[in-house]
């Protein structure tokens, strides 16, 4: 049976090697910490349907390998992503230092409008912290990113990170800032009949209206 949902968003999980990208995704999808697993090679894929502000949204999430040289292989998957989790490890300054490069990649290769949430992962390892909350939030502010510290181990803020990103995209659709019908927006409507039921106006309108709720 086909799943029904109002929207489908394409998401990316990006950031340096060993920051816990796959573990965040696993925690979000399976609700548990992925203990014994090989690291990601190339690109992996996961999805989950969530409820955000009364809308059902299917998140189609692409998890990428973090080693620098794999960027040339994974970048073809950036195209048309609506949202991204940009991940660093709070216990590794090096992973924090490469954030700017990852962000440039996301905005140039996916879309300049991509909604990005910065995730300072491994929050549970606070005694080994190398990056303060304050400086990361400053970086987020300067670069117009949302920001959360997360723990894929305990699950803290993991769900929130994905949902916050999805909520922001929905708001931007509502305000007309994002147009789901634009090619490469990373957003698709769900089941077509469902869409007509919920959006009677769009049938007559020349330019499709964002759903008004």
């Amino acid at each position: 049976m086909a799943e029904t949902y109002d929207f489908l968003f394409k998401f990316l999980v990006i950031g340096s090697a060993g920051t816990g990208k796959s573990c965040l995704l696993h925690q979000f999808i399976e609700n548990k910490f992925k203990q014994d697993s090989n690291h990601t090679i190339g690109v992996e894929f996961g999805s989950r349907v969530v409820n955000v502000g009364g809308k059902t949204v299917k998140l189609q999430i692409w998890d990428t390998a973090g080693q620098e040289r794999f960027r040339s292989v994974t970048r073809s998957y950036y195209r048309g992503a609506a949202g991204a989790l940009l991940v660093y490890d709070i216990t590794s300054r090096e992973t924090y230092n490469s954030l700017a490069a990852w962000l440039t990649d996301a905005r140039t290769l996916a879309s300049p409008n991509i909604v990005v949430i910065l995730c300072g992962n491994k929050k549970d390892l606070d005694p080994e912290r190398e990056v303060t909350f304050l400086e990361a939030s400053r970086f987020a502010q300067e670069n117009e990113l949302m920001f959360l510290e997360t723990s894929a181990l305990t699950g803290e803020n993991v769900e929130e990170a994905f949902l916050k990103c999805a909520r922001t995209i929905l708001n931007k659709i509502d305000s007309g800032e994002l147009d789901p019908e634009r090619m490469g927006s990373g957003i698709q409507y769900g089941d077509a009949s469902l869409r007509q039921l919920r959006q009677p106006r769009s049938a007559q309108a020349v330019t499709p209206q964002p759903c008004g709720c």
Partner: protein, 342 residues
């Protein structure tokens, strides 16, 4: 009921950890495996006798028509290291460079190389009891050394993720760091095109080559992939980068590697095409990208790939002819196209 009973009994007889130290997955089909293994054991025994005769008197293994034929039928584990070392030329290089491996480990240092390797130590075969931190002896040490030595030996490549899985298998088979190092050198330096260099051009090229081969041999699959806008990177980068490690069952991977060391990198295309051809009908049922991803995952599980002996026979018949010259031509063309794209 009866089937469940059989499965339960098989579970009792087949060890939970395989001969290489890997824990069998939760959903492992013990009954099917036991059935397969009882016939495979007969083949293994017959091959072992033949190999013992061939290798009688010690010495190195040289490439020959007989050796190639023998290798296609499978190398017994006890002879595997020696055969791989012989046919790949690794033995010759090791003999010509005594002490070289140790010197690499004691020589220059590179913090970034060490860090990159260290990041992956706990993420290399956590499902293998010999690679766990608390194992005695723990294979993380030898793995770290082999990768570090290789990074110093080949500066253009350094360390690329994926090499850890390959080196890990080499260590499991050879049980010898230095031999594992020289076999890694044979693979990365000579047998495979530049998969692991920072530009990964060889990898990207071979993914394109696979795409071209599929277009020629399985046009319906190619059309489906194009229709969904799926790039071969998504499904095949692991096949090339890890040489099927963590994709196919261990025993099958080792049988593929037997031929890889003896016949070269075109074996990878043979395996890929065989998988695709055999599962063509199922692949063509996919109606979405996630669906397609799932089909590709299913393809690497089950009887077809577990029964390694028949699988290896299939890779030489199913894909049809695949000449060295045509692969070389395709590689040249795809490489030029990628370079032009920038």
């Amino acid at each position: 009921m009866e089937a469940a009973g059989r499965a339960q009994a098989a579970r009792g007889r087949v060890p939970r950890i395989d001969p290489y130290g890997f824990e069998r997955p939760e959903d492992f089909d013990y009954a099917a495996y036991e059935e397969f293994f009882s016939t495979y054991l007969v083949i293994l025994t017959r091959r072992a006798i033949k190999w013992s005769k061939l290798l009688k008197g010690g010495g190195g293994v040289q490439k020959s028509v007989t050796v190639k034929r023998y290798i296609r039928k499978g190398v017994p584990l006890e002879h595997r290291a020696r055969v791989w070392m012989g046919v790949s030329g690794a033995q010759t290089r090791m003999d010509r460079n005594p002490g070289y491996y140790q010197r690499l480990l004691q020589g220059e240092q590179s913090a970034s190389l060490e860090e990159a390797i260290r990041t992956d130590m706990n993420r290399t075969f956590p499902d293998n009891v010999r690679f766990r931190k608390d194992a005695e002896p723990c294979l993380q040490g030898p793995l770290y050394n082999v990768l570090l030595a290789y990074g110093h030996h080949n500066h253009d490549v350094g360390y690329c993720q994926g090499m850890n899985f390959i080196a890990g298998y080499l260590i499991l088979v050879t049980k010898n760091e230095e031999e594992a190092f020289w076999l890694l050198d044979a693979l990365v330096g000579r047998i495979l095109p530049d998969y692991y260099s920072p530009s990964m051009l060889g990898l990207k090229t071979d993914q394109e080559v696979l795409g071209e081969l599929v277009r020629l041999k399985l046009p319906a699959v190619a059309a489906l992939m194009d229709g969904h806008g799926v790039l071969w990177t998504l499904v095949a980068s692991r096949w090339f980068i890890c040489l099927f490690v963590d994709v196919l069952p261990v025993e099958t991977v080792l049988r593929v590697w037997d031929c890889l060391f003896s016949e070269g990198s075109k074996i990878i295309f043979r395996v890929a095409l065989t998988l695709l051809k055999h599962h063509q009908a199922s692949i063509l049922e996919a109606t979405s990208v996630p669906d397609l991803c799932e089909k590709f995952k299913e393809m690497t599980r089950g009887r077809f790939v577990t029964e390694c002996h028949t699988f290896m026979q299939r890779i030489f018949s199913e894909p049809g002819s695949l000449s060295r010259a045509s692969i070389a031509r395709l590689r040249e063309r795809c490489r030029a196209r990628l370079l032009a794209q920038g």
